[in-house]
Amino acid sequence: MQSHDFVIRFAGDGGQGVVTSADAFARTAAQVGYHVQTFSTFPSQILGGPTMSQVRISTNPVLSPGDQVDILVAFNEDAYKFHSPDLRKGGVIIYNAEQFQLPTGGSSFGIKVDEMAKTTGNARASNMVVIGAVAVLIEMPLDYIEAYVKARFTRGRAEDAGIIESNIKAIRLGAEAGKGSGFHVGELAPPNPPKHKQIMITGNAAVALGAAAAGLEFYAGYPISPATTVLVWMENNLIGKGKFVYQVSSEIEAIGALIGAGFSGKKAMTATAGPGLSLMSEGLGLAWMAEIPCVVVDVQRGGPATGLPTKTEQSDLLACMHPAHGDVKLPVIAPGSVEECFYAGAMALNWAERYQGPVIVISEFQIAERTQNIPRPDLGKLAIENRRTYSPNGNGQQDGFKRYSDWFGGEEMLPMPVPGGPGAYVANGSEHDEIGDTTHLPQHHVRLTERRFAKVKLLSDGAFEAEHTDAPALIMPWGSGKGSGYEAYLQLRKQGIDVGWAYTMFLNPLPEKLLALLRSKDLIIVPELNYQGQWSGLLRWQNVRAESITQFTGLPFKTGELTQRLAARLSQRREAKVHA
């Protein structure tokens, strides 16, 4: 029987080729039409340290990193010890026999990876040895890998041919070793390539690209894991006339710069993680108060304070939605997949211009660093919203237009004056009157507080998913919980459990219809990676009967475990009903 889904985990010390092997394997598979997703964990040190990178490969779209490991490639003994418990029954371990030895008879075999690579004349081809061995264990044709190697190393240089040849040699040597081991893990079904064009990309690059596609013009950022790659992306790509990118001196400077740029008419963004978000607190309050469009991407890591920089967690939600003192509630978009990262990046810029204020994209370590093949976005069809800039009759003079006049609803915001154009006003962080002058009169504070909250409603037409909504209880994860949550939902349905599904990446404001749906249900279960159950709490705040299933290990949900916990919770509920 053919199998449609495998998880291959590469583990060892940073610098042993763990990540490059996983990456090469993932690209090999993606190029011939499989769906892949990678998941990696790193130590916080720079060189070396225990590292793992796993690839899930499937004939169907991949939703989560995968629970159990089919093949573990252990580059050293520590990796073997740490990761072998995750190997499924019937799985196989390939280990680096130059580093350690395992007794024969188990489900493992050793290869002298580097030695073999050297015999090809290219010591750097060792990851191909490994991949060759992996391939035969799941009956993946070697052609696939050779095609990848050819594509990868054809760079128009003289040495290309030699490199390709040695890599192919390495693949074959690895394959022979695999064959010789006598192990067999399964037979990979042939790929089922999607009709649409694809790209292969990480979550962070997707956010950056989405923003660029939506017209990003200004980026100011400060390095911080796991958001640094967005800054680096921008430094390399946000160039040209009218564009600006800069590494500033702190996150406080970053948010200030965004506000200056947004005020001046530009689409502006930064990306950071929790500690940077906390530092932006006062600035975000200012952007809300003065009504300045700008976008902050928070790529969540674990814990409060410096926390767990290289682990995944969803504990910044409260801080993103309510970042500052005073009555502030920011629009928040939480992508749940690499693909959604692209659209979140684009939509956040649209939202910022549409409601004239700051918007948060709340992403997460595990999505940010994940490489995945996704449908190639059609930029021609991407809806791009630009600012309604005030320009009444072109005479450019002061003409009595009032930036902060009454606005209590309607289909769009009043236009916004922009420096150089008419309608000069003061964008003010103190409470203000219509032209932005400071005032302490109650009527202005009442009127503008209501305006600031009313205009957020312009954003409540977001898309959402809902299935089997006649069930009394719905599962509603957010962000990274989407993938494993949906897999768990499907498994529960298979088990005949009457449960529905709801999901959106638009957490604030919630799509109106979705909120009505949620309120109509007896129970909304929210799987989330934090202690407090932040999203279910915020749903209860909004009169939704929500409860969380939490995990706060710094690791993603495993679908199997989550399914069990959901099933237990749902059966509890059924029992409670019976006894009531």
Binding site: N237, E253, S264, L286, Q398, P419, Y425
Partner: protein, 287 residues
Amino acid sequence: MSARNEEYDFKWCPGCGDFGVRRALEWALEAYDAKHEQKHSMNVVVAGIGCSGNMVHLLEGEQPFGLHGIHGRTLPLAFGVKMARPELNTVVVAGDGDFLSIGGEHIAPQAARNLDIACVIMDNGVYGLTKGQSSPTTKFGVKTSSTPHGKIESEVFPLKLYMSLGVSFIASHYSSKPKELAKLIGQAMEHRGFAIVHVQSPCTTYNDNYDQLKGDPKKGIAPLVWDIPADHDPSSHQAAEDILNRPGIPIGIIYKGDAPSLEDRQNEIRSKVKARTPEQLLETYAL
């Protein structure tokens, strides 16, 4: 009461130095508009939080755009304005507390970048708006509401600080001669790079030092301010240092360097690196 808005509910105290600075800034902006044949709306005034920052609401006549944010963050905001729209004439107005205490961290980076903005700092040696606490420029030993036994922290010498941080245009003046001050502010605006005009602007309520600044022969007080001699060469680092090592408060342009501005540096990169469209960027991820 603001000229533009009767309802505006902040007023400077009678005699506050900031009145003179306001007049100077209005003149400087007008002159800049005329010289560059630009609309007044091409000016952006970024204001700190303090009595001084209220300047942005109190300007008379046609209004520039304004950005009145949070305490200490004029420079990050102005950085955003200027690099987003280099064609805007971007002016910071702030107090000694706002600019040198809570906002002190932002001076060095802008100096290192040579951001092309003009800053008008109103130094009254005190926190005016919060009613008289000590500021970085409050002199050592002085009693204020927050230093009831005398300040025990050395005062900051702002002009020396700017110099050592590499600010590329440094001028010093006081609020009583708005015409001269307007000229200096105008030169700061013209300067292509980071320009600071540091103004002694007395707080008549909490730190009235008009007499000390201007001197009062009747009371036997020698003036603190002195005019920088006409033959001073502001392009010379050494000459500038020498001026700063003399006692009292020099009036005029102390230093004016000619390093390229951040925008110039940015343009150099732009001219070398080929920009890619979103579609081209997308293509780099194609499978």
